[in-house]
Point group: C2
Chain length 241, copies 2
């Protein structure tokens, strides 16, 4: 049975400062927990209700009551399974091929969707500026659908990374050149900006190609959501020449 | 000043059955309300707090207190402006060019994002199966960012529409043909399916071309989110040949 202190620990992991203090995060749902158990992530505590525990591919499961689970869960309707895992040590950056970089993306759902897109489009590394929402935020993890196990995420000073990188740097801009009429490089760093303000001025100066997604309506829409814009640009990058 | 009965009416509009009963829906935020006021939508009640009312491009504004607004709002942090509008009469379907059709899309955020994508990509008509989430749901409207004024939305029996349409019918499938290697028609109906189950069996039989988005990772991701998949396919459809 899970202890009160363990429940208190898990509840604290809703907040970034406690995730960083303990070096732990949690995910929910049988599918995602099993996916993390079968990856390089190290489990710290695995909890399940009596009904669900047999569905877990793990021996050392702590039983939790439904009311206790509801109290610590990030979901309206908890799924019966919750896993606490260690935050992995930041990997060395080793850039080749295409790399995606985010400049202060704020919305957890957008980051989660973008991680899932990296997985789909075979982008193994994602660089996040320090102002980007934490990828171990429960809402981000809910939106990644397990893709977090297959994409390496770096939180770092974006300016330094771009300044020292040898890859060409493309950035998404509302007034960028029509992506259909430009020669995108074979590899590079693709930078996507903040939901409201786009790419910051500092990073804009380091961008070698400004890419735009052409609009086909009457031009009233102000912008695309950053996750849908990322989807379109990654699809274009992966398009056979 | 807004009356108690008016507040009660607005609160009821959170629910689809009352939206249909009264033929009304509401949106929030100065930008969206102004956008609807400058469109063909007919205003029924326009509310604002004392602080915000001068920002509205409308004369007949009812003042509302912040606590009253918080009580009727669909937002955690109400924006100070709320507009109730009439649900327009269903337009006649008149299909030419590309039309998007949704087969039981359930998530309000996905539908809102898809409406915004139709606006961006110049798809003037969206057909929703009767099982698709209501486009006047406050969460859908929040995600459309005003695009609802520029996209005509039909709720109808999808099977009948497709059976009687003369346009070619393309559908998005996980095992569809790689979109990069097929000749997409110049016009047609593009069908997107439900988040969990994809396109239903009945509709699948009516699809003439099954389109797939190629995956570039190691093939572990189960699927793309329906809104990001729609973004990628609409971008491909609009790509100059």
């Amino acid at each position: 049975m899970v202890s009160k202190n363990q429940l208190k620990l898990i509840k604290s992991l809703h907040q970034k400062k406690y995730r960083n203090l303990h070096g732990l995060f949690f995910v929910e749902g049988i599918k995602t927990v099993n996916e993390l158990l079968n990856s390089s992530f190290k489990p710290h505590l695995i909890l399940a209700t009596a009904l669900e525990r047999n569905r877990l591919e793990y021996d050392d499961v702590l039983e939790v009551t439904e009311p206790d689970l509801k109290n610590i869960s990030a979901l309206h309707t908890p799924s019966g399974v919750l896993g606490v895992f260690e935050i992995p040590r930041q990997a060395e950056t080793d850039f080749k091929g295409w790399v995606l970089a985010l400049d202060s993306v704020q919305d957890p759902g957008n980051l989660g969707t973008i991680i899932r897109l990296c997985d789909w489009f075979g982008i193994p590394q994602l660089i996040c500026s320090k102002g980007t929402v934490d990828c171990y935020n429960p809402k981000v993890l809910q939106a990644t659908m397990g893709s977090i196990t297959r994409v390496i995420i770096h939180y770092t000073d974006l300016q330094t990374v771009i300044e020292t990188a040898t890859l060409p740097v493309c950035g998404a801009f509302m007034d960028g050149e029509d992506m259909h009429h430009m020669d995108l490089p074979q590899e590079g760093i693709l930078v996507m900006g903040n939901e409201a303000n786009g790419i910051s001025g500092t990073i804009e100066k380091l961008v070698s190609q400004k890419v735009g997604i052409p609009q086909f309506g009457e031009g009233h829409t102000e912008s695309l959501n950053v996750a849908t814009a990322t989807a379109i640009l990654l699809s274009e990058i992966r398009r056979p020449k």
